[in-house]
Amino acid sequence: MMLFFEAAGPRIGWCLWGAGGTSRPRGAAPVEGALPGPDRPGDLHRALDEAGMPDAAVYLLANGGTEIVQDLLPLTAEALERVGRCCATWPESNGALADVARTWSGRLPQVPHYVASETAFFAGLPDVARLYALPELQAARDGATLPLPAFRRFGAHGFCHAWVWAEAQARLGPGARRLVSVYLGDAPDVAALRDGRALETTAGFTTTEGLISASRPGELDPDIVAILLGSGLAPADLRRLLCCESGLAALIGPGAGLKDALASGAPGAARARRVLLHQLLKAIGGCLAVLGGADGLAFAVPEADASVDAFVDALCASLAFVGVRRAGEHEPGALADGAIPALVLPYVRWDVLARRVAARMGKE
């Protein structure tokens, strides 16, 4: 059993995965909750009383930046400092995870604690994909107290894309060296993978870059930010606008997610679906250009249903000109007709993470 912590909006969510024994079927409902505060346990104490001690506690950083470039790192004092800097730099992504790690490593001294970084998988992006065309910026302005972060592209959902690579290898064989991996969740992104390494991805310095998501705009002219700032919007308002109030929330309504966009009916959903399809097509085409073509296309789908199915079919139909064809559930390996197989992989995030942590612990 694993205990995970991660930023969930302004709060820290927790998840006990595998409670009730390791033989629980894949996809079984986890025991989940949110901490009332970084040092307040809320329901977690009771859940631990019922479930027993976890095998490990894991603090999942959505963005590890230049600080954490290993996917799993034992929580040492030094690692904790790094986590602290990641939380300060990306408050929307990482929340108060450092405070939580400090508290819970003290509360559960008998179990190993790890920091997990969703961006580590992208630490080796080639320079042309990792950099922005910006000059080297000098440290912060007079009177500014915040340090200047390194503006690099860090990507997102690294555990997912690493898992997709392994799954695709298992399905398609070692000949499938070039893969376009699509994470089709509330904050979707696309990655170009070659020989298991990431060459390109749509998420950048933060997940505000890239595809339209539940609350972030996707494609945007960066000058719009300067114009809004010039019109009197404060930086904090801009941050909220671009992280919390845009994207599907702006096109459909507050709280809208991928499901609302894909299931027709909700007002604005058809339009959001067209935007998402268009941006995904562009992202996949861009990855094909980077890879020089692909041997496979894979969709990691957290919540598979008929609307996701129909959407993937529409995407594959638009890509039929390159030879993309959806592989049947029981169609193993490369497609007989030489087409580029598109796989739909049900993605159970905590399960993937728990297996990765368990593998790591087995090594030690």
Binding site: A133, L134, A144, G218, L220, D223, A289, G293
Partner: protein, 415 residues
């Protein structure tokens, strides 16, 4: 009637003086270009001026004047002086204006009110609109009473579908500021979209094209089907998209927010992203691609190499993206200065695109003509790759002729 067309780029000013003979095609009396206007680099600015030929071939001699050209006002003054020195009078002046947002969409004759409105449009294209205004003021001063009109460069992208033009920001923000993807280089795309079907002897209907307009200052890509724009890389302003000479192109929108939190003002951010980034920002010393290609090749300069690599890489990604949007590709065209003259960029941008049918013939690509349309794709390749020298000035002159003929007052003013 003689129409002078002034076409301000971000670091150049092209011009042509047309003779509009009733009922026939335009004749060109003079042409030229101010190069490296306001450019930081190792080579000097200069003015190229061609005129004084015979009736059959009016563009006889080319003069090249190396001269300091710090801004577009000075560039326009030099051009007007060169024309005056050649005894060439001007009846009307047409300007390319990048965008007037929602203020103007169609070709407009300038009066005091229109000019005041254009003044409001400076921030919509913070590099170009001030350049064009500078040229307009230079003409007002040197040619008092001569009619001036402006042609807007984003009209071609009016056909963008909603899913490509909409930014997913809250409706009240969109309403208040009019944010949408306008796109730019429309005159150039319109010209290429008209030329290519003629050249191929195919109807525009059904033709799927990606056009790369690669200028010395600004660059963009457009996806065109049936002669209509489906998507383009520039946005509300000409900042979005490709890596350009001093513009960063695509960037995480939170980056300027982080800088604002650290004391950068709106003006400083605009200056940083538009004027200090791109090739200049990456290399640290030059905004000129040819400069950087030389330094990368001859001196093995790592920053120059990276800048050149990122420049071509971003183009390649956009070609792939737009091939996917179009559901396949029939034509890939390169236009404007770098697009026509720089075979290295074409070669690098087309690398690894065989999956969508793009394959270049290296020899044809190196030897592509600079003064007429040429095919540079490999024989048997699925996609016809073309080099198409542009003629935005002609498109501007034609717009001006239509406008001036439709307006008695304008025609009077022009005469």
């Amino acid at each position: 009637m003689r129409i002078l067309v002034l076409n301000c780029g971000s670091s150049s000013l092209s011009y042509k003086l047309y003779e509009d003979r009733e009922g026939s095609a335009f004749g060109v009396l003079a042409a030229g270009k101010a190069h490296r206007v306001g450019v930081k680099g190792s080579e000097a600015a200069f003015l190229e001026h061609r005129h004084g030929g015979t009736a059959d071939s009016p563009l006889g001699t080319t003069t090249r004047q190396t001269v300091a050209i710090p801004d577009h006002r000075r560039a326009a003054e030099l051009i007007l002086a060169a024309l005056a020195a050649g005894g060439l009078a001007v009846d009307a002046v047409g300007h390319r204006f990048l965008t007037a947002g929602s203020y103007f969409q169609s070709t407009t004759l300038l009066d005091a009110a229109a000019l005041a409105t254009l003044e409001l449009c400076r921030p919509l294209a913070p590099i170009h609109n001030p350049n064009s205004l500078n040229a307009i003021y230079a003409c007002q001063e040197a040619l008092p009473g001569v009619a001036q009109f402006v042609v807007f460069d984003n009209a071609f992208h009016a056909t963008l579908p909603d899913y490509a033009s909409a930014y997913a920001l809250p409706p009240d923000v969109i309403r208040r500021h009019g944010f949408r993807k306008y796109g730019f280089h429309g005159l150039s795309y319109a010209y290429v979209a008209a030329q290519v079907p003629q050249f191929l002897g195919r109807p525009a209907k059904g033709l799927r094209m990606v056009v790369c307009h690669l200028g010395t200052g600004g660059s963009s890509v457009a996806a065109i089907r049936d002669g209509r724009s489906l998507d383009t890389s520039m946005g509300f302003t000409p900042l979005q998209g490709l890596v350009m000479s001093t513009r960063c192109g695509d960037l995480d929108p939170l980056v300027p927010v982080y800088l604002a939190e650290r004391g950068w003002s709106a003006e400083e951010l605009t200056g940083l992203m538009n004027g200090q980034s791109g090739l200049l920002g990456l290399s640290g010393y030059s905004s000129d691609l040819r400069d950087l290609q030389r330094r990368a090749e001859e001196d093995g300069d790592e920053r120059a190499r990276l800048a050149c690599a990122m420049y071509a890489y971003r183009i390649r990604k956009y070609i792939g993206s737009y091939a996917a949007v179009l559901g396949g590709l029939d034509v890939l065209a390169f236009t404007d200065d770098i697009g026509v003259q720089n075979w290295q960029v074409r070669e690098q941008a087309c690398t690894g695109l065989a999956w969508c049918g793009v394959e270049i013939d290296p020899a044809a690509n190196r030897g592509a003509a600079r003064d007429r349309i040429g095919v540079v794709s490999a024989e048997g390749a699925g996609v016809t790759v073309l080099v198409v020298p542009g003629d935005e000035e002609l498109a501007i002159a034609e717009e001006g002729r239509k406008l001036l003929r439709s307006m008695p007052a304008g025609r009077e003013a022009a005469r």
